[in-house]
């Protein structure tokens, strides 16, 4: 039982982490490039889910997956071109404020167009079943994997424990890995990646060499929001497509990029996976500080001072762990795990 629980929790955590990474990568790219902390990033994630939902209704899921990210990317690029660029000369605070305002506008627009209720956005028919089943037979059977639906042994053998892993989760994980590899290739192996990297560190020099740096900025912003849109398509179908979905991930994505290090793609990856797995295991753990003290031979009883705090289970505080980690990172390593700049 324990081994299959460990495996499925790890997989669940990885899938959540990779979804987070799809979001965080765009945010951290935009930040490293333009120095803009895009508060509306999670709103583009939501927009991606809603646009994909509408396209799915008309043309099917695969067209939604294909078309929604570029549409969201175009919206992001247009926002950069016509709004963000204009306030750029006033400094960082107005830039921050305008993205903050945009998040409110997008929320209202989405509620006006699609309504305030959750939409029934489902994965495509072909990806609804389980991809594989983790079968754990009572000893000496051990652990094994079976593709597709649970094998007959699950019913036949008493004490067998079978857990399915949904195809769509695996598909989302695959998309995230694909995205990571292609973004990395784009940056390191293509000419446009070189220009972006140059504009990142030495914008004046790149401009002097004849590159259109504002256009590069626009492309990065559009690209970053398109990645958020892609995450939205996966996240919307995997979880729920509703107006509060931006709020649900907005805060934790910022925790991810701060923990990983502002502007670091590798950092965003490690931090997202870390937070995803941490959450998955924390929810499943009923240990508390009282147990820890117990292990140290310190008796903690309901009569002990502060028992209400000591007896809180890890599963009850799972939701605040990312922010606890955020605070610790800011205190002990302000540049983040993989960050290059201080503060």
């Amino acid at each position: 039982m324990d081994a299959s629980y460990f495996l499925i929790s790890l997989l669940n955590g990885l899938s959540v982490g990779l979804l987070l990474f799809m979001l965080a990568s765009g945010l951290t790219l935009i930040f490293s490039m333009m120095g803009v902390l895009n508060f509306a990033h999670a709103s583009f994630y939501m927009l991606g889910a809603y646009v994909a939902y509408t396209i799915t209704q008309l043309l099917g899921f695969w067209w939604g997956l294909l078309l929604a990210p570029p549409i969201v990317g175009l919206a992001g690029a247009a926002f950069e071109r016509f709004a963000l660029r204009r306030v750029h000369k006033f400094g960082h605070v107005p830039e921050l404020l305008i993205t903050f305002g945009l998040s409110y506008i997008l929320l209202e627009v989405v509620q006006l167009v699609w309504g305030r209720q959750a939409l029934n956005f489902l994965p495509p028919e072909s990806l609804r079943g389980p991809l594989f089943t983790i079968v754990e037979l009572p000893s000496p059977g051990g652990l094994s994997l079976a593709f597709g639906e649970p094998p007959p042994a699950c019913q036949a053998v008493a004490g067998a424990s079978c857990t399915q892993f949904p195809s769509f989760r695996a598909f989302g994980m695959g998309m995230a890995v694909l995205m990571l590899v292609s973004v990395w290739l784009l940056f390191t192996r293509t000419r446009i990646g070189l220009v972006i990297q140059a504009a990142l560190t030495h914008p004046e020099a790149a401009e002097a060499l004849g590159h259109n740096v504002p256009r590069v900025f626009m492309m990065v912003f559009g690209g970053g929001t398109a990645l958020a849109g892609l995450a939205g398509v996966i996240g919307g179908a995997l979880r729920v497509t509703e107006p509060s979905m931006a709020l649900a991930v907005g805060a934790v994505v910022f925790a991810v990029i701060v923990i990983g290090g502002m502007g670091s793609l590798a950092g965003a990856f490690v931090a997202s996976v870390l937070l995803g797995v941490l959450d998955s295991f924390a929810v499943g753990s009923d240990r508390s500080l009282a147990d820890l003290f117990g292990a140290l031979n310190l008796a903690v009883t309901p009569a002990t001072f502060g028992y209400a705090v000591w007896s809180v289970k890890i599963s009850q505080v799972a939701a605040i762990l990312p922010y606890l980690l955020l605070v610790l990172i800011l205190i002990f390593r302000p540049k983040g795990l993989f960050g290059t700049r201080e503060g």
Binding site: M1, N12, Q117, A118, Q164, V240, M245, Q316
Partner: protein
Amino acid sequence: MKFRNRLFGLPVAASLALVSGIAFAQAGETVKIAFIDPLSGPFANIGQNQLKSWQFTADQFGKNAAGVKFEFVPFDNKGSPQESLNNLKAAIDQGIRYVVQGNGSGAAAAISDAVSKHNERNPGKEVLYLNYAAVDPALTNERCSYWHFRLDADTSMKMEALTSYMKDQADVKKVYLINQNYAHGQQVSRYFKETMARKRPDVQIVGDDLHALGQVKDFAPFVAKIKASGADSVLTGNWGQDLTLLIKAAKDAGLNVNFYTYYASTSGVPTAMAAGVGGKVRMVAYSHNGVPGVVVKWQDEFKKKFNDDWYTHATYNGVAMLVEGMAKAKSSDPVKVAAALEGIKFKGFQGEVEMRKADHQLQQGLYISEWRKADAKNPYSVENTGFNFQQVKAIEPYVASTPTSCQMKRP
């Protein structure tokens, strides 16, 4: 605009009463009722459905014994107690004297307290509060209020009924509790443990989780935990999205357990269940889609009108009780109506029911129903899934009834 309406309204109502010339001062009046519940956010689908249910019921009662018309004025409390208080204030400012609310015992407690205080401080402007779904027993026990009337059955009653069914199920050995972390969810967990320890001490509680209300979007980690615990049954008081997503995650992971629920009939859950659940889903409630009489007749009309399901049958008892109370009090003044409602017996959708005087808890029978494929005997199709709830046990009102510790302060 509002001011002018009120000026015109008074003489119109007065002249109508004169013209009709009968003793009923309230006849011909339109009674406005504030509907305070979530109309946006994770539970919006439920609030929207219930708003339609109330107005639908009121329209069905077009010609009634009291001669009044009811108009429901929606207020969106976003599921929050704080917002509910703002809504209540806005409703009172608009001159509304009746309030209905149901989703969330936290919001219910806030409204009940605020109504009591308001009525104490503003004699002549009293407000009456009908709670149609918030089931925290405290509302009719230590925190009971004279102005609060509950139409749903509280958790102590539902647990009494549910455990009287579960104790006879031989396959219930290991139960996992998963609930929302607020008054209602905590009470479900507490009452289940208490009642089950009394009726079936051999049943093991293998897990007891509380999660944030409406915040969890991915139940996969919880389902993995349930699986690892070896539970054969899951007991949950979750409603709306929190139940929909739990059922979906259970299906995705191939969790093969029976679900014992309170609110499997709420919007969105039936569609999720139709996709498949490893085990059976059973529900304890004061009603289900197969209760003969009003329910069977009206749910078809409701579906025709809104292409949605009428599952909050408490709306019927709410309107029926108000009509009866107003006819008895010969007035729509909440003070007189509240006095008339104490201990009132009236015809509910399921037969005669009584609003107990001691704590204002409606005394009614309860049902255990199971989610099954529709057949010739039970043809109704919930959320157009081809499935519905079918009765497996009915519990008489006197069995479901639980004692109260309420020390009612009457004005």
